[in-house]
């Protein structure tokens, strides 16, 4: 076992822990928008750590290329998916107002929905 294997194992374990915490957050957070944070975010970093861990272990260029493609697609698609779900949820009213300290979007949307003069 070389030091690279140790780093690889540490990355894999940390990535798994973050993904597990994301699952816990998914259950524990009260509403959809908070859950989107848990569902999309610690998991991005967790996945990147796991990919780095696998890459350090495999050390093969074609495999590393595949891992890079996975990381790239994750970074490109996760924000778009989160945005579309969050936007739809907000407009459908699937947001718990009692969890919001400040809400600057509702007045803007209401002003738009009102028929003009």
């Amino acid at each position: 076992m070389t030091w690279l294997d140790v780093v690889s194992a540490a990355c894999l374990l940390a990535g798994c822990a973050l993904s597990l915490i994301a699952a816990v957050g998914l259950i524990r957070f009260p509403d959809l928008l908070s859950r989107m944070h848990a569902g999309t975010k610690p998991q991005v970093f967790g996945l990147l750590l796991i990919l780095v861990g696998i890459g350090l272990r495999l050390r093969d260029w074609s495999d590393v290329g595949m891992l890079l493609a996975v990381a790239m697609f994750q970074l490109l698609t996760a924000p778009v998916a989160a945005h579309m779900v969050g936007r739809a949820a907000y407009r459908r009213g699937a947001v718990r107002r009692d969890t919001l300290l400040v809400d600057e979007l509702t007045p803007v949307l209401e002003a738009e929905d009102r028929p003009g003069p």
Partner: protein, 192 residues
């Protein structure tokens, strides 16, 4: 994101471009070769065919990019992004595991200072990737983002989140903008 909302600004509708888009073709071919896992003549040729079909069937609106890559700005952008990703991941993880009441959140409006689809998109993407902030709405006409922020305690946290979003935009502009764009961006900031 939310591209259909051009808010009725005349002449503002994205135009679909025609002709061969070489950067797009090369990028798609590279992805194809990566996915097949081997650099062979057959892979490259079949990848090129697929790339041509994809760009013909799904044409994209052109991206107006008049800037240039600044190595120092780009390094700052990527470095800060990694730092924020790590710090914010730990913060959201702590919130998820915390015993007690669930955290309070906020939906805030952030008026970006630049007027560019590219910088708006990049800023929104980067903000969405960093835990703790989620883009719920985008106004293309006014370059306004509406962010859902996780775990705010009081007004000062809300203002801190707003400043964080604006700093993210500033890093994007400093990494990519041309000299004129950067000057206009900085002048806009003085007027606020």
């Amino acid at each position: 994101m939310s591209r259909e909302r051009s808010d009725g600004v005349p002449g503002d509708a994205p135009v679909r471009r025609n002709g061969v888009q070489w950067p797009m073709l090369i990028g798609l071919t590279v992805v194809w070769v990566l996915l097949w896992g081997g650099l062979t003549v057959g892979n490259v040729l079949s990848g090129l065919v697929v790339a041509v079909v994809v760009t013909l069937v799904f044409p994209l609106p052109p991206i107006v990019f008049g800037g240039r890559l600044r190595a120092r700005g780009l390094a700052v952008l990527i470095g800060w992004f990694v730092v924020e990703l790590v710090v914010a991941s730990v913060q959201v993880a702590a919130l998820a595991l915390r015993i007690g009441r669930p955290p309070l959140n906020a939906v805030i409006e952030v008026d970006l200072r630049s007027r560019s689809d590219l910088y708006l998109t990049l800023t929104a993407e980067l903000l969405s990737l960093v835990p703790g902030s989620l883009v719920v709405e985008v106004r293309r006409s006014t370059s306004t983002l509406f962010l859902h922020v996780l775990g705010v305690r009081d007004e000062s946290d809300v203002e801190a989140a707003r400043r964080r979003a604006l700093r993210q935009e500033e890093r994007v502009v400093r990494a990519l903008a041309s000299d004129e764009e950067l000057a206009a961006y900085l002048a806009e900031g003085v007027g606020r």
